[in-house]
Amino acid sequence: MKWDKRLVAITSGLTGGLALAATPAWAGLGELNLPYGVTSIAHMNYDLNMLVLWITIFIGIIVFGAMGYSMYYHRKSQGAVAAQFHHNTTIEIVWTVLPLLILVGMAIAATRGLVLMYDTDNADMDIKVTGYQWQWRYDYLGEGVSFYSKLDEQSNQARVLGSSVRPERVDNYLRNVDKPLVVPINTKIRFLITADDVIHSWWVPDFGWKMDAIPGYINRAWANIEQPGVYRGQCAELCGRDHGFMPIVVIAKTPEEYKKWLAEEKKRQSASEGAEQAAAEPSPAIDVAQTQS
C-alpha cells in the first residue's frame, strides 16, 4: 500500500511539474471557455454550454462520489465482506427515468436555441462568403463591392518552417488578414456561405457559430453584432495543406462609419474596375447554373 501511495505522488507530481515547467508564460492559461460573444446566438450558446456543463458536473459528483465511497469503505483491506445482491428493480427504473427527465429539460432549452439560430429571415443585408484554398472572398450583395481576404504578410513570413520571424513578435499571429471584412453593428446580417474548391468552414467564435462552406451549397447563417470591435476566427474544416492559415477578421463599425467605408470602397473598386474584373474569378457555386444554361 505504501508503494502505491508513493507511486501516485511521484507520478502525478512528475507529470504535473514537467508540464508546468514547460510553461513559460501564464496568460494563455486563462483560455478556458467559450467566449460570451457579441451576438444573441453567442450568448445563448454560452448559456446552454454552462447549463449542460453544470448538469454533468452535478451528475459526476454523485456518481464518482458513490464510487469513491465504495472504494474507500468497501475495501477488502478494511475487512469489507462482499454483499451478494445483484439487482434492484426500483432503483434501476429510477436511474433510467430520472436522467430521461433531465434530458427532456435540456432538449427544450436546446430546441429554443436552434430555432433562434435558424431564423435567417428579414435580414437587413446579405454578405456572400466563399471559401477558396486558402483565402476567403466576400461579396456585399447588391452593393457591387467584393474582395479577397487572406493571411497577412507578417504571419505568412513567420509561419514558414524554420522562419527567423518569431510568432510571438507578430501582431495576432495567424489571426490577421490583408483585408478584413467590415460590417455594421445593430444590423441583422445574413451570411450566404459557400465554397469554390473543397469544403471549408467559416468560424468567428464571438458570433457563436461556424458554418460549413460547401461547393454546390449556399448555407445561411446570421449575426446581429452588439458592439463595435475586431473579431477574429479561422477556417474550421480541413481544406488541405494551408488549412491552418486562412484566418477571418471582421471589423464591426457603427452604421454611419460603415456607410462611409462602403462608399469609399465602392469608389475605389469602380476606379480599378477594368483591372479587377479581369482578375476576379466568378464564384462558381452560383455561376455554374448560369454558365450551363
Partner: protein, 536 residues
C-alpha cells in the same frame, strides 16, 4: 480440471507446429488471438509515434519540425492506424482468445476463415503505410476522407481505398466467425442469458460490424469511381453532392465508434465483479442497454454534421436521438458503481484500469452530451473540444479497457503472473499523463482552436505545451507495458487456474496457461454455474 480426451481426438495436434510457419498456417484461436494482439500492440506504437510527431509540432506556435502537408498526413494516418489497426484488432484478438474459453468450446467455429481474417491485416497496413512514400504523398484529408479534398490525393489514392477495403473485409469475416461461434459453440446448457457480458457485447458488436463495414466500403468505392471512372456522386459541378458522402460515411462512422466501445463495456463488466468479489449488478439491464445503444447508434449519425446546413427538422431529430443514447450509457455506469457498492474491493492493475475507465469514459460521455446540444455544437464542431471528447472515450475508454483485459487475462495466457509493481507504475504514470495530455484540449477547443491545424495563434501556446508534455510521458510510459508483457511471457510467479480470487467463469476452470485446444469435450456447466456464475 481440463477435460481433455486424447483418445477420441487422436487426429488433433497436441500442440502447435514447430517453427515460424506455425504462425502463418495456424487455425488455432489462441495463436490467431496472439497474432491479433501483437499486431494491435505494434500499431499502437506506430500510431503513437505519429501522435508524438503531431504533439511535438504543436509544442509551440510556428512551424518547427514538419511541413503542413506532412502534418496532415500524420493526423490522417494516426486516425486510420489507431482505429483500424490498434483498437479494432485489439478487441478481435481478445475475442479470439476468450470467446472459446468463456463458452466452453475447443476453438472458433470457422478456424480457416479466422486465419484469413487476420492475415489480411498486415497486407492492408503495409499498403496503407507505404503510401507515405508514393509520389504526391500519403492521404492527408483526415481519417474521414471527405471529398472533394480527398480527391486531391496523389498516386496513393487507389492504394488507400484498397487498404480500407481489406480492413473492412477482415472485420466482416471476423464478425461472421464470432457470431457463428457464439450461436453454435456454447457449452450444453448455456443459454444466451447465461453468457458472460464480454460475449454479449461482442455478439452485438459483430452485428454492428456486419451492418456498418459494407457501408464504408460503398462510400470509399464511390470515391474511387468519382476519381477514375467519371462518376459524379460527390461532385457538385456534375450534379453530385459532397454532403451525401458525409451522410454515408457517418452512417458507418457512428456505429463504428460503438464497435470500439461495446467490447470495452464487456471487459469492464468482467473485471469489476472479480475485484469487487460481488456479482455484476443488473446483468439483464446491461444486456438490454447494450442492445439499445446498438440500435440507437444507427440513427444518430448526423450529429457529426450539425454544421453542414441541414434543415431544422433534421437537426432536431439527430439532437434528440443523440441525447437519448445517454440513457442506456448512464444505466451501464450506474450498474458498475452498484457492483462496487458493498463489495470487497482490491486494486490490482486490471481493476485500476477498469476503475479509471469508468471515471474517464464517463467524462468523455459528459462532453458527448454537451456536443449533442446542436446549437452549441456550432461552436464545438471541428474544434479541439471534439478532439478531447473522442480521446477520452477512445484512449481512456477503449484503449484502457484493452490494457485492463491484457493484465486480467495475461496469467491465463502465459501461465505466469505479471509484475504487479511494474503494472501499478504503468497505471499511475498512464492515468496521470493521459489527463495532462487531453484535459487541456477541452480548454483550447472552447477558446477557439480548430482541430487538424499544424500551427496556432499564440494565445493557445500554454495549454498546448502542457498537452505535449503529457503526450510524451504517456507515450513513453507504454514501453513499461511492453516490458511487463515480455517479462510475463518469459517467466514469473506461476499462475493458478483461477488466477484471481474473485474470478468466475469458464476460462478459469482450465489450467494456466490454457491448453492449446481449450475444451475438447463439452464442460459440465452446472458445476460452474452452481458457484454463482449464473447471472440473472
Amino acid at each position: 480440471m481440463s477435460a481433455v480426451d486424447h483418445a477420441a481426438d487422436a487426429h488433433h495436434h497436441e500442440g502447435p507446429e514447430p517453427g515460424l510457419l506455425r504462425w502463418v498456417f495456424t487455425t488455432n484461436h489462441k495463436d490467431i488471438g496472439t497474432l491479433y494482439l501483437l499486431f494491435s500492440l505494434m500499431m499502437f506504437f506506430i500510431g503513437g509515434t505519429m501522435a508524438l510527431i503531431i504533439r511535438a509540432e504543436l509544442f509551440q506556435p510556428g512551424m518547427q519540425l514538419v511541413d503542413p502537408y506532412f502534418f496532415n498526413e500524420m493526423t490522417t494516418l494516426h486516425g486510420l492506424v489507431m482505429i483500424f489497426g490498434a483498437i479494432m484488432p485489439g478487441f478481435v484478438g481478445l475475442a479470439n482468445w476468450q470467446i472459446p474459453m468463456m463458452l466452453g468450446a475447443p476453438d472458433m467455429a470457422l478456424p480457416r476463415l479466422n486465419n484469413w481474417s487476420f492475415w489480411l491485416l498486415p497486407f492492408a497496413f503495409t499498403l496503407l503505410l507505404s503510401t507515405l512514400f508514393m509520389p504526391g504523398g500519403g492521404p492527408a484529408g483526415g481519417w474521414t476522407m471527405y471529398p472533394p479534398l480527398m480527391l486531391e490525393t496523389g498516386q496513393a489514392f487507389p492504394f488507400i481505398i484498397f487498404a480500407v477495403h481489406l480492413m473492412g473485409m477482415s472485420s466482416i469475416l471476423g464478425a461472421i466467425n464470432i457470431i457463428a461461434t457464439i450461436f453454435n459453440m456454447r457449452a450444453p446448457g448455456m443459454t444466451l442469458m447465461m453468457m458472460p457480458l464480454f460475449i454479449w457485447t461482442w455478439l452485438i458488436t459483430a452485428f454492428l460490424l456486419i451492418a456498418a463495414m459494407p457501408v464504408l466500403a460503398g462510400a470509399v468505392t464511390m470515391l474511387l469511381t468519382d476519381q477514375y471512372f467519371g462518376t459524379h456522386f460527390f461532385n457538385a459541378a456534375g450534379g453530385g453532392d459532397p454532403v451525401m458522402y458525409q451522410h454515408i460515411f457517418w452512417f458507418f462512422g457512428h456505429p463504428e465508434v460503438y464497435i470500439m466501445i461495446l467490447p470495452a463495456f464487456g471487459i469492464v463488466s468482467q473485471i469489476i465483479p472479480t475485484f469487487a468479489r460481488k456479482p455484476l449488478f443488473g446483468y439483464a439491464s446491461m444486456v438490454y442497454a447494450t442492445a439499445s445503444i446498438a440500435f440507437l447508434s444507427f440513427i444518430v449519425w448526423a450529429h457529426h454534421m450539425f454544421t453542414v446546413g441541414m434543415p431544422l427538422a433534421g437537426e432536431l431529430f439527430f439532437m434528440y436521438a443523440t441525447m437519448l443514447i445517454a440513457v442506456p450509457t448512464g444505466v451501464k455506469v450506474f450498474n458498475w458503481v452498484a457492483t462496487m457498492w458493498e463489495g470487497s474491493m482490491t486494486f490490482e492493475t486490471p481493476m485500476l484500469f477498469a476503475l479509471a475507465f469508468v471515471i474517464l469514459f464517463s467524462i468523455g460521455g459528459f462532453s458527448g452530451l454537451m456536443l449533442a446540444i446542436a446549437s452549441v455544437d456550432f461552436q464545438y464542431q471541428d474544434g479541439y473540444f471534439v478532439v478531447a471528447h473522442f480521446h477520452y472515450v477512445l484512449v481512456t475508454g477503449a484503449a484502457f479497457a484493452i490494457i485492463a483485459a491484457a493484465y486480467y487475462w495475461l496469467p491465463k495466457w502465459t501461465g505466469n503472473m505479471y509484475d504487479e509493481q511494474l503494472g501499478k507504475l504503468h497505471f499511475w504514470l498512464s492515468v496521470a499523463s493521459v489527463n495532462v495530455l487531453y484535459f487541456p484540449q477541452h480548454f483550447v477547443g472552447l477558446a477557439g482552436m480548430p482541430r487538424r491545424i499544424p500551427d496556432y495563434a499564440v494565445q493557445f501556446t500554454e495549454w498546448n505545451m502542457v498537452s505535449t508534455v503529457g503526450g510524451f510521458v504517456f507515450g513513453f510510459s507504454q514501453l513499461i507495458f511492453l516490458w511487463i508483457i515480455i517479462k510475463a511471457i518469459r517467466g514469473g510467479v506461476k499462475a493458478d487456474a483461477r488466477s484471481w480470487e474473485g474470478a468466475h467463469g469458464m476460462e478459469w476452470e482450465i489450467p494456466s496457461p490454457a491448453p492449446y485446444h481449450s475444451f475438447q469435450t463439452p464442460p459440465d456447466i452446472s458445476k460452474v454455474m452452481a458457484r454463482g456464475d449464473a447471472h440473472s
